[in-house]
């Protein structure tokens, strides 16, 4: 087991707590940078997909994992980010301006939408966001002059300093773009966590009364969380638009919202790792399933709903047996190896607890 000797407060403040994690994450970044030289373009496309989902997952994780608010409507914010980016670029804005702005606009819209939703707890918020996700579809159709309605839109080729980036013809360039955004969002997430705002998020999640007593403005904090979450989600949405190459009112459906929420639960709520782990599952599950299906039943046999069904099953198993998600499992395995041969099963036993109600007795 690694033991850290802390000699200054900065040990707890800086980005990487110790040399070990600096080396690990440095190596990971390096690997991500040289990846295009190691695997072919098809797989680069797949990794890009994982990263885009991970960015969206980070967005939702900030809301659900950090402030404890479950949103079932984040596909709506993917859509806002995607459409805003495309429309801004059509208006003649350069990508480097339009893309960040798309995220910021999505964030502002999210914060505004959040204000009435703030008074809602738990399930009420979930329902309001479901309604949002369903409404988004209809609203996109109604706003046809801007959104192209049912026929949808096709994002233009990205131009950065005269360099063209396109998902199909130059997947490696697109990969680097997505990687940069993913790293940036991860940094934002980490920075929030280690500053007062991140602690305020935790406080709001665990006890609203005492957060208030400590001077945390509940509504403002939740709206900020919602806004930041939507900003990151908006960027993911814009990237999804480029990745798909075309999108319309049905691209960002309720199913996407739900998948996103399930993804971060499978990955592990409340951790950056969880968003990435979950994204790997979501991105590779369909391929894995279809390969499995073809080898068992032979190709050509279609089983509608298979993906979502299996996905649901996996999720149920996770919630029952590993509520901390893949990240939690990973941590346990790591501790097991670090302590070998002294790890015992009981170390990871969950505490029994009774329902902590928010109702007035």
């Amino acid at each position: 087991m690694r033991i850290q000797f802390k000699t200054s407060y900065d040990h707890d403040i800086r980005l990487f707590p110790d040399r070990h994690s600096l080396i690990v994450y440095g190596a990971l970044i390096l690997l991500a940078l040289v990846l295009p030289f190691l695997i072919n373009e098809f797989y680069i496309g797949e990794v890009t997909n994982v990263l885009i989902w991970a960015i969206a997952g980070l967005g939702l994780m900030l809301l659900t994992g950090q402030t404890g608010q479950a949103s079932l409507g984040h596909a709506a914010f993917l859509a806002i980010g995607c459409y805003t980016n495309t429309i801004l670029i059509e208006q003649g804005l350069p990508f480097l301006l339009a893309f960040p702005l798309a995220g910021v606009i999505t964030g502002v819209v999210g914060a505004i939408i959040a204000i009435p939703a703030l008074r809602l707890h738990g399930i009420y918020l979930a329902i309001a966001t479901i309604a949002l996700s369903i409404l988004a579809d209809d609203i996109i159709v109604l706003l046809e002059p801007w959104t192209g309605g049912v026929s949808g839109k096709f994002p233009d080729v990205i131009r950065v300093f005269g360099m063209e980036i396109e998902r199909w013809t130059m997947p490696v360039r697109f990969y680097y773009l997505v990687l940069a955004v993913a790293v940036m969002c991860t940094l934002f997430y980490r920075n929030i966590l280690r500053s007062p705002l991140g602690r305020a998020f935790d406080a709001v999640r665990d006890s609203e009364v005492s957060a208030t007593a400590m001077g945390v403005h509940i509504a403002r904090t939740k709206a900020t969380a919602f806004g930041l979450s939507c900003m990151i989600t908006g960027w993911a949405g814009a990237l999804m638009g480029y990745y798909a190459g075309a999108f319309n009112n049905e691209t960002f459906s309720l199913v996407i919202s739900i998948t996103l929420l399930m993804m971060i639960v499978i990955g592990g709520l409340g951790s950056i790792h969880g968003a990435f782990f979950g994204a790997v599952v979501v991105a590779f599950l369909p391929q894995g399933l279809s390969i499995l299906k073809d080898s068992v039943l032979g190709s050509g046999v279609a089983i509608p709903g298979l993906e979502t069904g299996v996905f649901g099953m996996i999720l149920i198993l996770f919630i029952l047996f590993e509520p901390m998600g893949l990240y939690g499992r990973w941590l346990k395995i790591r501790i097991w190896f670090e302590l070998f041969p002294f790890a015992r099963k009981d170390m990871f036993r969950r505490q029994k607890s009774y329902l902590k109600t928010e109702r007035l007795r």
Binding site: T64, G68, A70, L72, P116, A117, R119, L120, G122, I123, Y124, A126, I127, A128, I130, A131, L132, I134, L135, D138, I139, V141, L142, E208, V209, L254, I258, L261, M262, V265, L269, I303, P304, G305, L306, T308, G309, V310, F311, G312, M313, L315, I316, I319, L320, P323, K352, S353, Y354, L355, K356, T357, E358, R359, L360, R361
Partner: protein, 291 residues
Amino acid sequence: MDGVQLLVSGLANGCVYGLIALGFVLIYKATEAVNFAQGDFMMLGAFVTLGLTNAEYLHLPFWIAAPLAILIMAFFGYLLDLLILRHLFGQSQTAVVILTIALGFVIRFVAGVIWGHEPQTLESPLAFGDVSLGGVVLGMADVAVIVVTVLLTWSLYQFFQRTKLGLAMQAASQNQMAAYFMGIPVKRVQGLIWGLSGATAAVAGILFASKGAIDPNAGLLGIKAFAAAVIGGFGSLPGALAGGLIVGVIEPFAARYLAAGYSQIAPYALLLAVLVFRPHGLFSQVRTKKV
């Protein structure tokens, strides 16, 4: 007279929403969990009945098949609690929300595998014939739906007010720990609640299938029922029913009088309006946590 017909068919639809919403509220009141799979319960209940009574399956008489299906669904609800939800005891609401959504996916998938994805109609005695009341022609099914819903709601209400088990359920919902110490078998009571909501869902399913075709995606109706439950207020049984009726009635009128793009928005727009202005529903009082 056109308006009356719209109203009645709206009410009949609303009753189905209301019954699903009732299932939500039952479980919410007892366990503070929300069963997002309630709509899929309804769909499953309809398919179980269909599997028992339709000619190409078991071909049992409807009046045997229906109670049997209700029993099966009640058992299914109980089993679900026993095998899955009981293990979530003490976990966050979000975990339960996500779990039940996942459960809905699985139920939909299984139903699709067993009964296929083509819409099917239930061979139900309720489905045929019209009733003529004062010059207004009403579908027999619509009238049956309304009658059954009223009866069911009334008996549920009586059950909670009068019977020992009903009171135990109320107690368990208000303070789990205290109820546990008073000798109420909280876990078993919760299992029974899940059974009860499974049965309610089966009734809703039978009524829904009597009114029209059913396919595995019919469970998505649950979302509308959900809106209904929120509009009525999650804590109250009559509120859930009223919410269902409101949503049910709004739909046909919005479809008739609003432009095409706007009509399907109406129930959700109402939902959001209610959430903004009366966050805890139209029929419940606001409660906050005490320190």
